[in-house]
Symmetry: D2
Subunit: 353 residues, 4 copies
């Protein structure tokens, strides 16, 4: 098996750190460059001291293309706008690209513009020619395309939980498409590393809130994927909440059932849909789930329920927002792109408690 | 103003403690008995040392009717089944009763039986003759009846947040009645004082989960009050979640709008509905709310939003589950019952941070 | 009783907010100005929404001396360096000053310079002439001087807990003076309101650390007060730690006993020393203390223990760093300065849980 | 390399769970029996659902000696008193024993009796004949003896942090032996899995306290090891505190220095002492440490400081109480006992944040 040489741009954010934590133990990957604006020239472990002895590579500046090693894949664990600026360059040099932002999550320019508007960025894209071949990086739905992709757009954390949570129901025409409610709860790490009054410890402690109601940017990729699955345009109601824990997304997904299936029927259908998917675990009504079951892992646990009184499908979807919602999923994409088993280097349970 | 003599049965639980914390500073109330099975003969502050110097009364056993002071009102801050056993006795002695459990939240015996079934109790009621005159203790909706009530059923904490959150919309025929979704998040204190593997600190830390999906007992009183407001039988989908904080309920309420009102219109309608209600604060879309704004207080903050894309009313309802969701609301009921301003002794902001 | 007119400079920090929360309910104080650089022209409750309806005054800019009301006392709830710049001006106008920073905690200029050095500020003082009459604002030790003081230096939070914790032992010559160890643990709010990588929620969660070992600035005022009490120069070893909670300081104080007193003897001695002090509560070995007993209050709870095996006095001193460690203590000082009972407006227990 | 067959008795406690999490990925170990009184006959993952797919073995009852596989080592992850009852039986059958309780931490019966007294157990030992050959399971100090040991007493979590933190200073005669102060802070998981009012989430949240002052049982093994190192009887002052986080011990250790060494000198001495020890990481004054650096790992991070003003050595010792303080250290012992590198299967960093 050839080694996969990985460069991580934006290495000093949470996405970069998560990638390093995984790749340092990946049997076939080798980190050849850690790149950031912060900490250039210093060992990576001076930024993340918990990695002392595990990753002491020196951080390179954004202009790192003089490194000697071949680069097989670049992880852009960077804010919106960075990946689209540099992706073409690296592709030309023969590398493939996995971008953590919204830069390559949409194939249509219009969709990207709508996204850019929501996050207050200019409604232009620096590499529109790459968009149409960019692949939405959710292996459970797009494995074949990811295998061949030059550019993969790693999904938003909320999107992963919501899309995996409802895909089988949509693909099977189980629910009414005009009444989907997504109520999502995230730990604070989803907001990234930059300090902010909203995520200052004393403010956040013993505190919770909804935010960006009817305005969150992840709803666009959710609707895009939902529409593909249902072969029909879908709009959803999506409400994110911040919860005082560090890691974890719990999305509670409500769908109004068309027929009156029992929960076992739904469970069977989900299990069939996700056959062969290493990281999706299906639980029936009697197997209540908790975010600690997926914390620190790449799993998505789906707890399936049917409210008989209102004939509503209720899916509780659990992921770790920094793993399946970010770095873990990126490595899963890399595995698929380079022909490895998708779980290579990722098959670890959480620690309890 | 005559003094109101209060006996608190179940004084050593969280509901009792919350009541003592308020009543010790209430200008017209006087605690005449603290009653519990635990700690009999010991000063109350030996159970709750933070009250040392504030409430050092000796705890009395359940048979406390020999106390010399007149008892004007008995708070049954007790588990289901206790209040119904003793209420008639105290009413006969001339006292009025505020019960914290589900014992007196329903006027119809059938409803109570359905409730009892949900919580795994025998489907009988010890004082069925009191039920029909029992009043649901939410002053914002039943002020007149509470004024005259002998027995008040203090509502469930989730119910308070969900009922106040949607009452104006239901009373005004704003939403479709068959698609109401209630997604509720509660801090851990809602589970009470008794230790339990589920609420053991290491288990609960950095952990969240949904529970009792389609089975929670509070849904019954929510539906009962919703139906009254809408003058029509309503069934709702209600999903509770446990969140790692101590105090606070955030209920996100989704209603499918019939017409296309703007948010300002909804705000105006809610403000009109709650005119004169000291503890309900209405916020428009631009005034995002957080649970810290109500922590430790008797307020219910309602953050009103309209998702134009899906024409959905989204109400985020915040209360402190131990205050407006329990002891604070009980004292508010007492104030109303005894002709005081409803906010007497309760008008305090939270401490921040 | 005349009303006390209070201006709060630095109103938008935690110290200002804590002062407002107390003074809004103080029977004899009236806030006449809320002053800050942030939020000028906006209602105070737009910065602190939990105070909506309780304090909606408009925030004034630093040049606020044109207000019509008489100013009896100015609270400088400001960073080091601000109070010393403006104090003289307000004193000349007839006001008295309570400063929350280190500006007026030392009467000797040399001590201040040493302090300024530790916090990286220029070693000059803008109002050296005020220093010699400035009073260290710990009413338990300096009540008489505070009554007459023009300028009071409100103590550092760690200092309050450590000084109150050992004062009786030092005054009574109980311990060896060369072996005092102070091990202090603080909640995160002690670091103030400004966001910072160190106090970013995901970083701080499930994390603790010691910091500024042998370098913390509060050690100077501790040593200064200890030396006064012992009538001898004392140096101590002081180690602060940050703990993942919001409010609370727990200082564990170790003194090597000279004789072999029993714990009861020490308890009696402490009770005698603090006779008449409303906010110091003494607990013997069998009355274990927790930070929740003082959370949100102005109390200092001292848990006294003697380790017979090593003949060591171990005092566990609990305060709320934002109350007795800051705003509560400032109001206590104000009460003393204006001839009120020291507990006026401050005698509240915490809420539990 | 021969496989090591491991039986874990007390598999359903935190110590058992931690052992399973490690051993499931250990290259040379194989779990052959998971034994407990709880959950017999059920898959292990029904007790610990985060291990679903990783460890689904069926739990065996305490009488499990009929299993077919050879047992090379038994982990008694059990409360005090269990290991001493069954150890001899398993040794006779050819197995070796690692006990997590205090049963085999002392070689002298008198020491054990003193320990038993402190924890309120009968002052008798069921296997006194095993005591004298039992080895204190801290490989950094007793590697040679552990290699040959039949029975290893895995140390108390506080003891690990305090002993490793001061061993080099004691061995080098650096400090006065009569003034050692150990101030230890632990996360809540140290108290184990059993629910308890003290560790009920709402009680523990935003709360901290000292406990068992001058009475904690771990002080005995600390003194025992300290005395060995210093070749002299030592008594220490030890104060444990509970802190609201899940994992982590931070012990702040104060020693009064005899001479006036600089911090670099102390650092050099510690590095020399721990040469070849995979899990002890030494940091000088400028490398501040945090508990997150060791969370989830088997490392002990020692942050060395000298307070020049009082000539005090201040060592801040960080471990994860469930790893180096329990299960991780047990596996390290197993590695040493069976001739493996001590870090086999244990060399993992923590996840951040």
């Amino acid at each position: 098996m050839t080694e996969i040489n990985v460069a991580i741009v934006g290495a000093c954010g949470y996405g970069g750190c998560g990638s390093v934590e995984i790749l340092a133990f990946h049997p076939y990957a080798k980190i050849v460059a850690l790149v950031d604006q912060e900490g250039v020239g210093k060992p990576y472990s001076s930024i993340y001291p918990h990695l002392k002895g595990f990753c002491d590579m020196v951080i390179l500046p954004p202009e790192f293309d003089s490194i000697k090693e071949r680069v097989d894949v670049v992880f852009f664990a960077t804010p919106d706008g960075v990946g689209q600026t540099y992706a073409a360059y690296w592709i030309k040099k023969g590398a493939r690209v996995i971008d953590f932002s919204g830069d390559f999550r949409f194939q249509a320019l219009d969709q990207y513009k709508e996204y850019a508007k929501r996050i207050g960025k200019p409604e232009v894209h620096s590499a529109p020619e790459l968009l149409k071949d960019a692949v939405y990086g959710l292996a459970e739905l797009h494995r074949e395309e990811i295998m061949k992709a030059k550019v993969v757009g790693n999904p938003g954390c909320f999107a992963v939980s919501c899309i995996l949570g409802l895909a089988p129901a949509l693909a099977s025409n189980l629910i009414h498409l005009d009444r989907i409610i997504l109520d999502a709860k995230t730990g604070v790490s989803g907001a990234g590393k930059r300090p902010n009054p909203t995520f200052h410890y004393p403010h956040r402690y013993d505190n919770m809130n909804a935010y960006r109601i009817a305005m969150h940017q992840h709803v666009l990729e959710i609707e895009s994927e939902y529409s593909l699955l249902a072969r029909q345009e879908i709009r959803v109601t999506f409400t994110p909440h911040v919860i005082p824990l560090t890691r974890g997304i719990l999305s509670t997904i409500y769908g109004s059932l068309k027929d009156r299936p029992g929960a076992e029927e739904v469970v069977a259908l989900y299990k069939e849909f996700y056959k062969g998917c290493a990281f999706v675990r299906i639980a029936g009504p009697e197997e209540a789930q908790q975010s600690s079951y997926v914390r620190g892992t790449n799993f998505c646990n789906l707890w399936l329920n049917v409210d008989q009184r209102t004939n509503t499908l209720i899916v509780v979807s659990h992921i770790d927002n920094l793993m399946k919602g970010q770095a873990g999923n990126a490595v899963q994409n890399m595995n698929v792109m380079f022909g490895l088993s998708e779980s290579t280097g990722l098959m670890r349970p959480s620690q309890y408690p």
